[in-house]
Subunit: 336 residues, 2 copies
């Protein structure tokens, strides 16, 4: 692995050796020509961030469709996985170089079907630009796990090992139906000029799929109220808040195309020969344990399955900090 | 129990003894003054149907919010429970007199909060008009089970026994959130003048809650397709068909007010001293087994719990004909 040629957006003064753990992330952006599976060859812009010292083993970290390059973040913007990535964390940025990208489509400029394989190919192209020959690990959760499986299948020679959390080789038909109806909610708002409200509502439906009845029973165990002659249930304020916050940050095209992308996932497990750890959450309503068992049984290389229990269901990777940290350390621990 | 005074809508030539099993249902309608829990005293119209011979023990049968008085139906309109109700069926209309009502609110004319207790009180008023002193049984499924619990708590002296299938003393908070979002989908369409499409979409969301991932995995196990540059998942045609069919028959006010009514359910189990059989479906995503266990443990009279397994989840009472028939015969079997 060579890092002699820094990418254009890497500051010229980047230290060549392991640097102070608190050093800021380095941002970059590349224009790529990408042969997409369903949308022809397109010019796309890929944005990413580095964390950690140059020369250290490179770990790609990838989360759900609403997660991006900002894994750790900065004051006022916490990033999406600060509990797991950083100095002294399970993915230790004093010992590893962490790379994260914004998903193709996340900025809303790509209004076309985006296959998870396209994301994997974009990553491979970015690694070429960054002159990273091989990843020490790909750690993906949710959609990120789907893309990790694609990367392992399509670019296995560039990957030492894969950790796939709560993401499978295919979407579950019931989860696909759930997402399809979310997209129809957005389409209803789009056709009627009420996109922001519809997007917020679709996000609330997504929230239900990310969480579990057990969590809602604990948090929202109050009788329905009557407000102006209409029933209001205990979770509505919380869900509405989540929906509005999402709609303020995202555009409908990004939501639609990345939601679709999950439903386009198709990987042949036998094509993956990279050592792979699959993490399932027993309560996950989107990615059932049975699908991840089938994945592990079908993988073409060394494979193991770890099962968590969590009332947070699909969102466990964002909420069960201690258990997830243990799994990450176990999977990455053989690198000193 | 006296049936000497037939209700006004009962044909004058109704036989006084057990009649031919194929005799048609008798329809009636009453205007009632009803003291509603959240909407003051209202004049309401209640429509119902009788099946079976006059003088036989009376069984009330009640289903989900989209089920009504037409339990068995007629040519071209099959009713909602023909597998269980009829001559020789588990609820045998040669030996029992079956009574079923349309729900308050089902015709869309009552745009106010409707408590399940209101439905129970309306039934009690109907029984007065019909001069039915006491029911041999109340067999309720889904919302019908909720109303049955209300009737047992409020009018227990008029009920010999209750069979409550897939309905509880309270709504589950997660299921309430699910329904609240359905209502918001309808509200989105209403505000934009696209009610029918929004109602069809809300119904599709309801369908997801009535069924299970296991059923979808069996029926819709095909990769997503691309149509005109958009992803279409395997279950979408089926769900869209169900949604359109529903929207053609129902109005949004009926849907909204009956959906709300489920979320208004609150019964103190200890107030129910009538012998009660509760039937749970382990896979039910709306009414979890744990809530029905809590119900049975809290009941104030003889209580037993029966648990079915079914890939049809909440809809098992409509789909698992043999298993449901066994439960019905077991519960009603001591009446010759």
């Amino acid at each position: 692995m060579s890092l002699n040629h820094a990418p254009h957006a890497e500051p010229a003064d980047a230290p060549a050796t392991f640097a102070a753990p608190t050093r800021a992330a380095r941002r970059f952006a590349f224009e790529l020509s990408l042969a997409m599976r369903h949308a022809g060859t397109r010019r796309v812009r890929v944005r990413g961030e580095w964390q950690g010292p140059a020369g250290a083993p490179v770990v790609v970290v990838a989360g759900g469709i609403s997660a991006g390059r900002q894994v750790v973040g900065e004051p006022g913007s916490p990033g999406w996985w600060p509990a797991q990535v950083g100095p002294g964390r399970a993915i230790d940025t004093t010992r590893r170089r962490v790379l994260a990208l914004d998903w193709l489509g996340a900025d809303g400029s790509l209004d076309a079907p985006i296959d998870p394989a396209d994301q994997a190919d974009a990553l491979a192209a970015v690694l070429d630009r960054l002159e990273v020959a091989r990843l020490d690990a790909f750690v993906g959760a949710s959609y990120g796990a789907m893309v990790g499986l694609q990367f392992a299948a399509r670019h296995g020679a560039r990957l030492r090992r894969l950790l796939a959390i709560s993401g499978a080789h295919r979407p579950h038909p019931y989860a696909s139906a759930w997402r399809a109806l979310q997209r129809q909610v957005v389409a209803l708002g789009r056709s009627e000029g009420n996109v922001s409200h519809a997007l917020a509502l679709a996000r609330q439906w997504a929230m239900l799929s990310y969480r579990t009845p057990e969590e809602f029973a604990r948090r929202f165990d109050a009788p329905a109220a009557l407000e102006a002659g209409q029933v209001r249930t205990a979770a509505e304020d919380y869900l509405a808040h989540c929906g509005r916050r999402y709609a303020a940050r995202w555009c409908s095209t990004a939501f639609l195309r990345l939601s679709e992308s999950i439903d386009l996932q198709q990987v042949e497990p036998a094509a993956i020969t990279v050592p792979t750890t699959v993490v399932a959450v027993a309560e996950d309503r989107l990615v059932p344990l049975s699908d991840l068992q089938a994945l592990v049984e079908g993988l073409g290389g060394p494979a193991r399955l770890r099962v968590l229990r969590s009332e947070f269901g699909h969102d466990a990777f964002l909420k069960e900090d201690a258990a997830v940290a243990r799994l990450l350390r176990e999977s990455l621990g053989d690198v000193a």
